[in-house]
């Protein structure tokens, strides 16, 4: 495997856009997300904050159609990804999911080797040639900074990695399917501070090429890395805006209360 071959991240389509119009989500007749309309800024890190139970995770799942698995969830409204309503007719859910790389709260390595974990996505999406697969795997392991740590044991089980390494592995795995967007559902809440820092640095590096939407559990993280903040409460968007402005000059009283810690 030649290291000095020109390895560049294959550039995703330059026009990335997510636009949501009047999104309503009901779970078993409970109105969870109420009339959400917004646009996600391209190639930025957008953090969604809000007290627990306000619908952040539900919102994230609507972006990659993970609610398809649960018949008790009803979705109304339109979600335009790259100008196509992913809830429209004739939309292939696999294509939609391929555009979204999801990083979940608890790292979930697949029951296979480190190599196979990263190779899984490319393989199912059609890359069969060994050389191409190898290249992809090494490339993305390098990108998340894991390659040097695991190069000697890349064929051993992924479950033996530390939790921080596992999360980076999951990130590499998600990147390997070459998405346009990266979704993070409290992706660092299970990690130690050092691993958290590494992942946050990766996100900042990634926003060059990808549009990143993170559900964050701490205001501090949002402050550190977000370009754009969306504040949700009880299923509604209360306020949103660029980070600096949001933290320094919140417009709504509810926002001010939340930021000051009156409730969480």
């Amino acid at each position: 495997m030649k290291m000095n071959e020109a390895i560049t991240l294959r550039k995703p389509i330059t026009n990335q856009s997510i636009r949501i119009e009047n999104l309503d989500v009901y779970i078993e007749d409970q109105h969870i997300l109420k009339d959400i309309s917004l646009t996600i800024p391209e190639k930025n890190i957008t953090c969604i904050i809000g007290p627990s139970g306000c619908g952040k995770s539900t919102f994230l799942k609507t972006l990659n159609r993970m609610h398809d698995e649960s018949p008790e969830v009803k979705i109304n409204g339109k979600v335009f990804v790259d100008d196509e309503n992913i809830y429209g007719p004739n939309v292939n859910v696999i294509d939609t999911r391929k555009k979204m790389g999801l990083l979940a709260q608890r790292p979930c390595p697949l029951p296979m080797s480190i190599f196979d974990n990263v190779a899984y996505g490319p393989r199912i999406h059609g890359i069969k040639k060994r050389k191409a697969v190898n290249q992809t795997v090494i490339q993305y392991l390098q990108y998340v900074g894991l390659w040097d740590e695991v190069r000697d044991r890349v064929r051993t089980s992924a479950t033996r990695l530390s939790i921080g390494q596992q999360q980076r592995l999951c990130l590499a795995r998600g990147l390997a399917i070459e998405p346009e967007y990266i979704l993070g559902d409290e992706a660092t809440s299970a990690l130690d501070p050092l691993s958290t820092k590494k992942i946050e640095e990766l996100f900042v590096k990634l926003k060059e090429k990808y549009t990143i939407i993170l559900v964050t559990h701490t205001l501090r993280q949002a402050r550190r890395i977000a370009d754009h903040i969306i504040f949700m409460y009880l299923g509604k968007i209360i306020e949103s805006g660029p980070t600096e402005e949001f933290f320094n000059n919140p417009k709504k009283q509810l926002t001010r209360d939340y930021l000051s810690g009156s409730f969480s």
């Binding site: 292939n92 696999i94 199912i124 059609g126």
Partner: protein, 298 residues
């Protein structure tokens, strides 16, 4: 590329659906097949006569199933009568009193007991229980008994259904929310009072369902009972008489099945009877147990 993946996915889904539907229908298939095989004899003889007559003379064409039906019930009831107290006591002990180590020790024991093949129970019964009854127990009550009796069948069956009873009862006890038992204990009740007033009271329907399940298991057990029950087609008048439960009837006579007119149909009728009884008992008690599980898990 895309369409191949989608095609594989769809094929898999349809295959699985087919298997699922087949599973549900299988029960019906078994029942109907047995029914149709039993039809000849049901047509020839009056159903009422079949079920209530005691004349079993296949050569003459007399098929009275009463001795077998009653034998099945007697043996099973004796088994439950013996097994129930042991099972309840042991389950309570394991659930509320035993230390973790004792519990961990007992679980394999119960597993092992339920794993021993029926024929071994039959062997044990013949070696141990039958002589015990013939020589030590029966002489106190009746003049003579070979030992191959309803009682022998009952004892062997009892040991066989105890593991089942214990495992279901433990599950039922476990499903009682800890808050309830904690509340009772924190009010100053002793463990025993808690057991009596909270656990047992709340578990009554579960215990009944477990009993019904075990009963249906006892109805169908063939090998072990066959070896110790005497296999005489009579209505037993005491537990020291020989008997002839339905499964033993089928097992012992399958060789004769094709030799006489209606004999095969008669045996299939026995199988059908067993099937109906077991499905009813199982269905009812499983339904009850599911309700209990649902009640305590929202």
């Amino acid at each position: 590329m895309h369409s191949l993946r989608a095609a594989k996915d769809k094929t898999a889904r349809y295959l699985m659906l087919g298997i699922a539907i087949f599973t549900i229908l299988f029960l019906l298939v078994i029942g109907l097949s047995l029914f149709f095989k039993a039809l000849p004899i049901m047509r020839e003889k009056n159903l009422w006569v079949l079920l209530t007559s005691s004349d079993w003379k296949p050569f003459k064409g007399d098929f009275g199933f009463l001795p077998f039906i009653l034998s099945t019930f007697y043996v099973s009831l004796i088994a439950i009568f013996i097994a129930l107290p042991f099972s309840i006591l042991t389950s309570i002990y394991l659930n509320s009193y035993a230390s973790k180590n004792v519990r961990r020790f007992f679980e394999p024991v119960v597993d092992l007991l339920s794993g021993i093949p029926p024929i071994i129970y039959g062997v044990w019964g013949t070696l141990t229980i039958v002589p015990l009854i013939a020589n030590k127990i029966a002489p106190r009550f009746v003049e003579f008994s070979t030992g191959y009796t309803v009682l022998a069948g009952g004892v062997v069956l009892a040991v066989m259904i105890i593991p089942l009873l214990i495992s279901i009862m433990l599950e039922v006890f476990r499903s009682i929310p800890k808050e309830m038992t904690d509340a009772s204990l924190s009010m100053g009740a002793t463990k025993w009072q808690t057991v009596k007033k909270v656990i047992l009271r709340k578990s009554i329907s579960g215990i009944i369902a477990a009993t019904v399940l075990a009963l249906s298991r006892a109805f169908g057990e063939t090998m072990a009972v066959l070896m110790v029950c005497g296999n005489i087609a009579q209505i037993p008048h005491s537990i020291f008489d020989a008997c002839y439960p339905l499964p033993a009837l089928i097992a012992n006579n399958y060789g004769e099945m094709l030799s006489m007119p209606n004999y095969e149909s008669a045996l299939m009728f026995s199988a059908f009877l067993l099937f109906i009884i077991v499905v009813l008992f199982n269905g009812l008690s499983r339904f009850t147990l599911n309700q209990i599980e649902r009640r305590y898990q929202f």
